[in-house]
């Protein structure tokens, strides 16, 4: 029997359609102490992550605080430099490009931030904020910068006449629209959005989600969305990766992930989401995880979830489960996955014996 490949993405997905691919991505933040600032340890924020995002899709990364999802977003946009591993954008390795070499690429890769209050310069007018990408990249849009900015403002549902106003004159939802307009200025191919709606009220959140959806269609955008809200992720995503302590534990298309999650952590995470349906209050079975997420400074060995997993056996403490494709387009890193169809269950059991 052949061992499952470590990069099954390539086996089942069309390689040509990949926009960005990460291989073995690692980011460790050093912890220094003492007068010589010697490194005494490292926060293993992202620790060996593989995935690729296809053109035109919405790929989401979910997980709880400290799982490394935001660090992954910052690595993708190269706001951080990876400790190890590769980031390949349109066939080009951008893992260690210097700032100057990255700049032309910033046209193609843009980021939307969580907090619309701190991501806009309070001393700049909206016109200056949204026009900044043109100036920085030396782009002269047809009809001039002002017209381009006003078109962008109209495109995200803002009044183009607000060109000369300052960010404080806008509400949270409007500010998020300003941030989105700036992101769109140079017609990027990839937008990485880190918690784009979590700071917004419910009614405004829906407006922004609908806007992102319309813009994706209009400009043929690819999204990587980082979020902790599993309901939002279900609504927006084509594919979803679940992270726990710096690793992807499950990666699948939206429907199978939500209807038949396989990793015990995903199962527990999903069972914890409150559902706005009073009729189902009784029938849902909730899996309560004991304890807290361990520290990413000294994560548990082998399977990182074994300290909180109700299915953990000896093998989980000694051998790290690889992220393998247990079902077509459904990758799981677990020795004892849930919701496994019988045939596949036998295959993994046999596989486990071989190992």
């Amino acid at each position: 029997m052949t061992a499952p490949t470590q990069h099954p993405e390539k086996s089942s997905d069309d390689q040509d359609s990949e926009l960005i691919t990460v291989e073995g991505l690692i980011k460790h933040f050093p912890i220094r102490a003492g007068i010589f600032r010697r490194q005494v340890g490292a926060v293993q924020a992202v620790d060996g992550v593989n995935f690729s995002v296809k053109r035109g899709e919405t790929f989401s990364i979910v997980g709880e605080s400290g799982c490394g999802k935001s660090t992954t977003a910052r690595l993708l946009t190269r706001l951080l430099e990876p400790t190890d591993g590769k980031i390949i954008f349109e066939g080009r390795d951008i893992s260690h490009l210097k700032d100057g070499a990255m700049r032309p690429l910033r046209r193609d890769v843009q980021m939307i931030f969580q907090d619309p209050y701190s991501s806009l310069n309070p001393r700049h007018t909206v016109g200056k904020i949204v026009g900044a990408p043109f100036r920085i990249q030396g782009v002269d849009p047809p009809g001039g910068v002002k017209k381009a900015v006003q078109d962008l403002l109209a495109g995200v549902g803002l009044n183009p006449e607000h060109y000369n106003r300052y960010p404080h004159e806008f509400s949270g939802g409007q500010r998020q629209r300003i941030g989105i307009a700036r992101t769109l200025a140079l017609r990027p191919r990839l937008i990485v959005a880190d918690e784009p709606v979590s700071a917004l009220d419910v009614s405004i959140q829906a407006q922004i989600i609908n806007l992102l959806e319309d813009l994706q269609e209009e400009f043929d955008l690819t999204y990587v969305i980082i979020a902790h809200d599993l309901s939002v992720v279900r609504y927006v995503s084509d594919r979803v990766a679940v992270m726990y302590l710096g690793k992807i534990v499950e990666l699948a298309d939206r429907e199978p992930l939500y209807t038949a999650p396989m990793h015990p952590y995903t199962v527990a995470l999903m069972s914890a989401v409150p559902v706005p349906d009073t009729r189902r209050r009784q029938e849902r079975e909730r899996i309560l995880l004991s304890g807290d997420v361990p520290s990413p400074i000294s994560p548990p060995p082998a399977c990182r979830f074994h300290t909180r997993c109700w299915k953990a056996q000896e093998i989980c403490r000694t051998q790290e489960p690889p992220l393998v494709e247990l079902l077509p387009r459904h990758r799981v890193a677990c020795h004892f996955p849930e919701n496994l169809p019988d045939a596949a269950a036998q295959a993994t059991a046999a596989d486990g014996e071989l190992r």
Binding site: E64, L230, R234, Y235, L269, P274, V275, D277, R281
Partner: protein, 363 residues
């Protein structure tokens, strides 16, 4: 809602006929004078809550839900005090077990806090004193209301920490707030709030800052403890999922007013107010894949210039159906079925038609 409408509601609610509700808020107004004008944070709010029940107050930022909770707890700075800030102007009546609170002195209301009513805040780190141990803070609250020595109080604190699921409580009682994780701190604060066995527990966004798995633990904890102590709980949140999990009754607030009130079952399965429809329509669903979200257009109003008539009318898709009534006349809460009231000018047939044909199929 006027007092008479409230009486109406009370009499229509089965089981409330012969007893007075445990907590009753009547025509509450909370206003803050500012340089820009008078902020009407709560504008004529009335509701009632029975012993042992949980009321969910839902609304977006600025709807007045937190201001209401602070008013009940007596935590607003009153203009009468010698503060330099003008503080809040309160009017109306708040009855706790038949006793009116707004007319009482701050000292008296303070003596009720902890024992009769307690509060869980959203951010435990700012609700605790970083200089004192967790145990010290629980013991302090307990000894104010109970004439016991330190040793007994300490034992009680350890007991409470154990009850809320903190491991090794006899060791952790001497820990400082910063030594706890977010979820543990929230538990410690719940232990503190429950240490004197309060009759009324106010929880203002108790799980908003927490991860979903920790949130589930905390919600279970609140539910279990409520059953054990038979407390009344007011749960303030923007998360309709949390409300559906925990609340018996739900109050939907907008611009400082009640838009709709009813049992959780009524609110989620037969909502009657266009704003409630908008909230439900705006919400991505965890349990199913939805077609396009039904967003509410526009933004919440300024509380200095609250729109005339129904405050929601500028954002309401259906305001035009009643010939300008919504823009001119403030709708009172009227009953649509027993225990379910709504402040809306839509006619009953319109409302049922819209819900059934336009909203429900698209949720």
């Amino acid at each position: 809602m006027t007092t008479s409408a409230l009486r109406d509601l009370v009499t229509r609610h089965p089981g409330r006929l012969d007893k007075q509700p445990f907590l009753e808020v009547v025509d509450l107004h909370v206003q803050f004078p500012t340089d820009d004008g008078l902020v009407k944070a709560v504008d004529g709010l009335s509701f009632a809550l029975d012993r042992g029940r949980t009321l969910g107050i839902v609304g977006e930022s600025g709807s007045g839900k937190s201001v209401t909770s602070l008013a009940i707890m007596g935590l607003h700075t009153r203009p009468a005090s010698e503060q330099t800030r003008p503080g809040a102007q309160l009017s109306g009546e708040i009855y706790l077990d038949g006793e009116e609170l707004l007319g009482k002195t701050p000292e008296y209301v303070r003596s009720l806090r902890g024992k009769r009513m307690a509060m869980i805040f959203q951010d435990p780190l700012s609700a605790m004193n970083p200089y004192y141990t967790i145990g010290h803070q629980i013991i302090e609250a307990y000894r104010i209301h109970n004439p016991v020595n330190k040793k007994v109080a300490r034992k009680h604190a350890i007991d409470m920490l154990g009850r809320v699921g903190i491991p090794e409580p006899s060791r952790r009682v001497d820990a400082y707030p910063h030594q706890f994780s977010g979820g543990m701190r929230q538990r410690a604060m719940i232990a503190m709030a429950l240490s004197c066995d309060p009759d009324l527990l106010m929880a203002d966004e108790p799980t908003t800052a927490l991860d979903v798995t920790v949130q589930a633990q905390i919600l279970d904890l609140i539910r279990d403890l409520q059953r054990e102590f038979n407390s009344s709980v007011v749960l303030i949140t923007h998360d309709l999922g949390v409300v559906a999990e925990l609340a018996d009754d739900v109050l939907v607030m907008y611009a400082g007013r009640a838009m709709e009130y009813g049992s959780a079952d009524q609110l989620f399965n037969r909502p009657a107010h266009p704003y409630t429809w908008g909230l439900l329509g705006s919400m991505p669903r965890f349990d199913r894949t939805r077609e396009r979200l039904l967003a509410i257009k526009g933004t919440p109003p300024s509380l200095i210039n609250v729109p005339s008539g129904c405050p929601f009318h500028p954002r309401c898709e259906y305001a035009a159906r009643n010939e300008g009534l919504s823009a001119e006349v403030r709708p009172e809460l009227i009953p649509v079925e027993p225990g379910h009231t709504v402040a809306c000018h839509l006619s009953e047939t319109d409302r049922e038609q819209i819900w059934e044909h336009e909203i429900a199929p698209r949720l």
